[in-house]
Symmetry: C2
Subunit: 501 residues, 2 copies
């Protein structure tokens, strides 16, 4: 006879298995499914999502959770019980009819958003946004919050995070970023970014991306890389089957190259989760912010470092001998670290990126509190944008209509991107203390010491620690913007300094 | 409020959706899954199969089936109710513990078979075969049968088929085939098969196969073609998502070419099932035999016809200008229709193929009746083989260990391959009566009239008619071996006749 705890764990695994099957349905839809498969796919995905939700919120789950002691078993079992109880309680607090209403409203809103963006017609999207904000506000009320409604939504993606905790950090980050941007704008020493928009043949880019993913530590016996319109990383079979995707632009090298490094960063986290606890919270990421810290670390702190390209610049130029003729390592390093205010978040550099997030979090909070009417979003967006960047989007397409998130009813997700940057910087300062020769190691083409450190300190624990606890355990300090500010100041001061030639 | 019938149909669709998800899990495993994904995949597949089985055999399903009148609604609803009742009753008669025992024994037996075949060691496989035969005999007793135990197993793949019905047909087929083989063996006019074993570059074969699939009517907006070790056709999303696979041998053109045509034949059936009834028996194939009739028709009756190659030989030689230099249409036509006794079923020509099946059905029947001990299979195999083919396999690897079926606990499946040949011939005689200019149409590169005829007569009905009823409705006659014998006699007499040169 299995014990109650064993029975609970098996149930949790079935829920995890169903979700992983949902991931495969999505991955296949985005990669290989023929166009006319879409009708069946929507039905299959809805069925699996429904079964997973049913199993999580079933009375049997509640009974098992009620019958086990959270302190029973080893830390792994404790993690599973604690996190399952959290998911169960959160899900149980929300009425089914509200979940369904949100799903239905999102399906309609997404189509409306696609059209509205195409036609630059915010007014056509505004009523849908209003409906979704009202529904998510109701959801927040059901879930409950201590500070403001936004907390209840944030908590879904970044457990434990609150506006009270984030707002001061983000305000400090804004101040430092704007100061640094002023200095960058004033520098006459701009990188030549034209070298990145030459012609880079796709087959060569494919070779480069595969090689760079492997150089970072991606293991193709436990994963794949495919092509999709929007790049992503998804886990199909625990740390035995993690898949990334990218897209290729022949006239813009960074899209595929850094997209691949970013998704590889996510993948390395998933590949480092404990295989034996697959399908349970003991083998799931801490939070979206911590996940993003891994993708940003490999993309920016490693992939956009001089040290990394000391090891790989020769391979790069060998793949594109014509396009990169006469380009030096230093030219390339500066070009991939250009900083420029721009309208589109997903195209932003690593410094201005955070301002895009700060803007969105401000507006989301106000929408959820009821202080900002959905119809007034364009004005609020453009006003804040001008304040942050000194420029105003020429259209809502390039402004408040650019992101898909709101049309899917997703609010409270954006801050995890900036949290990722902050966590990454703080982890990276620590690893440099722990491994003083890391720059030399990277310059010698060895990423394994860094990966081993991340696995030991972060990956192998799954959800054992919350983000706040983890960052303190690993770095000895609570989350702070200072490591990121120090990193960015040092790096961009150097990139924009007068060059010896 | 949905009616009871609507509720039942929705339940049936959920079962169909779960099964289709199982198909995707398998397809992905065979095509793109990374090697280390296998642990998770086994768990995911078992979960989905279990959920589908649970839903089919649940008390609610029985209650709904009990509450609807089989004559209620249109023919589509009647088909759904009738076939679901059949599946429910069959599944309900078999104890869960037996289903589990068979699954477990098969898992072990499959590994044992792989090793036994590799080492040509039948004795190592014999105990596993004995276990599976005993379990399947128990299954047959639970399912019930009128004639002999084999009927209960046959009925799973070919509903309504019995030994009493098949045995006389197969005996007649054996007699005619052996007579025709004697004449072929005596002919001094042998095709030159060497032209098919020259070098055929893979990229060119890929172009050919894609083009031939399209020439037969495969629609790549509702399907895909990929590469696997063993070719198959699978349906992921009703007639909107049907996928085929093939394998390429650069030194043997027929493997990929006719493999593709065969799987395309299966796919065209699935693509012709009614989209609006997706996931129900009204959009499922009648039986494996009828399914095989479609693959054999397109592979052999069309793909190995002279008329088809009149239309496509130019394209073929343009793709392989060196390898096919000096080869005439007639040379090619004769080479792809060579008839030669051989040991391996999957490599057999369309005439000797049926003898391989007759041998297997004989042995399976005797095993299930208990007249043949599993340990005595090699002797029985070789004895019957010698009688049928005039040669004896040099090893069990090339004899009774060659097929995977028994190791998976699959008995009663083999006859559907030969039924496919017989159905195909009888359908093909009829379509030639209905469309007298079919050879000219095919020679002009038009396959659409044939496909339209198959869709109208067979595909669109799903499981509305059983195989025996269908063949009589379409051809006016019950199933007979005569059409196949006439077809084979005419074709092979001509292939092996003296050639004008």
């Amino acid at each position: 006879m299995p014990t109650t705890l064993e029975e609970l764990v098996e149930r949790v695994k079935d829920i995890g298995r169903l979700r992983s099957i949902g991931q495969l349905l999505e991955w296949d839809q985005d990669t290989y499914m023929p166009p006319r498969g879409v009708t069946a796919r929507a039905q299959q995905a809805a069925l699996i999502a429904g079964l997973a939700h049913e199993k999580l919120t079933a009375a049997e789950t509640g009974a098992l959770l009620g019958a086990v002691d959270v302190n029973e078993g080893d830390p792994v079992r404790q993690t599973i019980v604690r996190e399952t109880r959290r998911s169960f309680e959160r899900a149980s607090r929300v009425p089914n009819e509200l979940v369904k209403s949100i799903a239905e409203a999102s399906a309609v809103a997404k189509d409306a958003w696609v059209r509205a963006r195409k036609e630059d017609d915010f007014a056509a999207f505004a009523p849908h946004l209003a409906t979704l904000v009202a529904l998510k506000r109701r959801l927040a009320d059901h879930v409950g919050f201590q500070g403001e409604p936004y907390d209840a939504l944030l908590d879904e993606f970044e457990p434990g995070a609150t506006v009270a905790g984030l707002a001061p950090l983000f305000a400090e980050l804004e101040r430092h970023t704007r100061e640094l941007l002023r200095r960058i704008a004033a520098s006459p020493h701009k990188p030549d970014v034209g070298i990145l928009t030459r012609h880079f043949p796709r087959t060569q880019q494919e070779k480069l991306c595969r090689s760079m993913a492997e150089a970072l530590g991606f293991d193709f016996s436990s994963g794949r890389a495919d092509v999709t319109v929007h790049p992503f990383c998804t886990t199909i079979g625990g740390s035995g089957d993690v898949r990334i995707t990218t897209r290729y632009h022949e006239d813009f090298l960074p899209a595929a190259l850094f997209g691949t490094m970013h998704e590889t960063g996510h993948a390395l986290y998933e590949l480092g989760l404990p295989f034996e606890h697959m399908f349970t919270p003991a083998a799931e990421a801490v939070s979206l912010g911590i996940h993003e810290s891994q993708s940003r670390m490999w993309e920016n702190f490693v992939g956009r470092s001089r040290a990394f390209w000391v090891a790989h610049f020769k391979e790069l130029t060998a793949l594109f001998p014509e396009s990169l003729e006469g380009v030096t390592l230093e030219d390339f390093y500066r070009a991939i670290n250009v900083v420029r205010p721009s309208f589109i978040r997903v195209e932003a550099d690593e410094l201005t990126y955070n301002l895009h997030i700060i803007l969105r979090m401000d507006l989301e909070r106000r929408l959820l509190r009821g202080d900002l009417k959905p119809a007034d979003v364009p004005g609020a967006w453009n006003g804040r944008f001008s304040q942050l960047f000194g420029i105003v989007p020429p259209s809502d397409r390039e402004g408040c209509l650019q992101d898909i998130h709101w049309s899917l009813g997703i609010f409270g997700y954006f801050p995890t991107y900036t949290l990722g940057n902050l966590y990454a910087a703080q982890f990276f300062e620590q690893v440099q203390r722990d491994l003083p020769d890391l720059p030399d190691t990277l310059a010698a083409g060895q990423t394994r010491p860094l990966l081993d450190w991340l696995r030991e300190k972060i990956h192998r624990h799954g959800q054992r620690y919350r983000a706040a606890e983890l960052i303190e355990r690993v770095t000895g300090e609570p989350l702070s913007v200072q490591p990121f500010v120090r990193y960015a100041t040092r790096k961009f001061s150097e990139v924009y300094a007068p060059q010896a030639s």
